[in-house]
Amino acid sequence: MNRSRTRYLSYIPLILLSIFFLLPMYVMLVTGFKSGDEVGLKYMWDLPKSFSLVNFQVAFTQLAPYLWNSLNVVIPAAVISSILGSLNGYVLAKWKFRGADVIFPLILFGMFIPYQSILIPLVDFMHKINLYGSLPGLVLTHIIYGIPITTLTFRNYYASIPNELVEAAKIDGADLMSIYWNILLPISIPSFVVVLIWQFTQAWNDFLFSVVLTSSKNWTVTVALNNMAGSQIVAWNIQMAASLIAALPTLLVYILLGKYFLRGMMAGSLKG
């Protein structure tokens, strides 16, 4: 009986925590809808008197080119690094060559490094191959530094598939690629979803690579938003609307595909 009372009491901290988690979203949302006299900072917590979409329209017009840039970076980066990760994971789980157990942790380390430690050579390299400032340069960067996490997720998944399945196919005369194509690929669709949405989210939310590698017309949405917020010119209701717009794509992915998002997140802590 005592325990059932604590259960009900649990809702008090849960609701307080919910308020804490929703505070920034509340401010973004109500401010985004306000216009005219209501916008003043002292009315921050008041509900809007009318629902005006003007701020969202203005913010969207300002952000549109950068949203488009982000999309053009994030989609190829997520797709290509997922494919590479899947192939690597397959080989590292099912076709271990000599040294594979040394190479795997060496690849993994790449996902933990502070990227500051590779930025100077990276910028130099992008200049040399004439991709500095461009979107393809940023895509290439995301693909390469995405390899560790995508490889990890797929390797863990393929390692959980019984070896007998692969061995039986080998006896039947299937070769390396046909085993991948006919047996493993069809059952790895859920893993592809996990990895794709994780890479999509990471690349969409990236700031460091984009701010260092792209020229102003190729900024991604995070860089554009940060510049908007740092400037004195853009009104704060527009900033709030812009923040919400910038967060929307990944937020939608989270709401629609939360289960897969969670799995990608857990993979990052190596706990498969």
Binding site: L17, V27, Q116, T222
Partner: protein, 296 residues
């Protein structure tokens, strides 16, 4: 049985990725390390050997780097402890099988899906320290609620300003920590708790002597993951407070030293120090995690 040809095919399949990581991770780190031993200042590369002077200067005659170290300690401590404690509390609350559990879980986790830049822009307004008629953000909320004792100068607080960046950071990552703890809690068999209850243990004793020790591996992993994230914190600081001297961290200093001031040697040295601090946490972690995997 694998024949030779297929082994080669397998290797060729991963070779491009291995090569890319070898160059872009290890090659580039080596290159940065080399730059850190030079006196390179200005836009054109200058590989004149400078020995350890960049490192020595950072530690002996660089006031800003001293602030960085202090800020890193303050921020990391508060962020890691705050995230662990909040994550554990949320996991314990949600582990009781309450109605609405999945709603709360999704709510506590959603900040993981959004960018630090968005988080920073929102919290910059919430943690506004303007007073009087210009008061806004959390201070205004506290004033409306009659909780004036909660007023704060936030990031404008002398010395401890960086501590307030831990608030949005905790906001962003405690849900992640909750998910790790929930997975850990779900792995503890119910029989263990039941048996302890039969033996007359109180709920607190069960938590203290059974649950908490069994969660120790989760706590350790979470500490390492959060600790290394904290060392790398960059976006959140830029978006919340910009580049302010008293609120500086090594990642921000590296960026300014390199790309604003063009003191490449110094920037490289800061980034190598950052890398070493991360490696000290991560390498043993990788080693232990992968070895326990082999044992299983």
């Amino acid at each position: 049985m694998q024949n030779k040809k297929e082994k080669w095919q397998a290797f060729l399949l991963v070779f491009p990725s291995i090569l890319a990581v070898a160059i872009f991770v290890y090659g580039f780190i080596g290159w940065t390390a080399r730059v850190s031993f030079t006196q390179w200042k200005g836009l054109l590369p200058d590989y004149t050997w400078a020995g350890l002077s960049n490192y020595i200067n950072l530690f002996t005659s660089d006031g800003r780097f001293a602030i960085d170290i202090r800020n890193t300690f303050i921020f990391t401590f508060l962020f890691v402890v705050g995230t662990l404690v909040l994550g554990l509390i949320m996991a314990l609350l949600l582990d009781q099988g309450l109605r609405g559990e999945s709603f709360f879980r999704s709510l506590f986790l959603f900040p993981m899906a959004i960018s630090y830049i968005v988080t920073g822009v929102a919290w910059r307004w919430l943690m506004n320290s303007a007073a009087g008629s210009r008061m806004t953000g959390l201070n205004l909320l506290f004033s409306k609620l009659g909780m004036d004792f909660m007023f704060s100068n936030y990031t404008n607080t002398p010395i401890w300003g960086i501590a307030y960046i831990a608030i949005p950071a905790i906001w962003q990552l405690s849900g992640y920590c909750m998910a790790l703890y929930l997975a850990g809690l779900r792995a503890i068999p119910d029989e263990l708790r039941e048996a302890a209850r039969v033996d007359g243990a109180s709920e607190f004793e069960i938590f203290r002597y059974i649950i908490l020790p069994l969660l120790r591996p989760v706590t350790l992993s979470a500490m390492i993951i959060l600790g290394h994230m904290s060392l790398k914190t960059f976006d959140l600081i830029i978006a919340t407070v910009g580049k302010q001297y008293p609120l500086d961290m090594p990642s921000v200093y590296m960026w300014q030293a390199t790309f604003d001031a063009h003191t490449y040697g110094k920037g490289a040295a800061i980034s190598i120090l950052l890398l070493v601090s991360v490696a000290v946490l991560i390498i043993p972690y990788l080693f232990i995690t992968l070895r326990s995997e082999v044992k299983q």
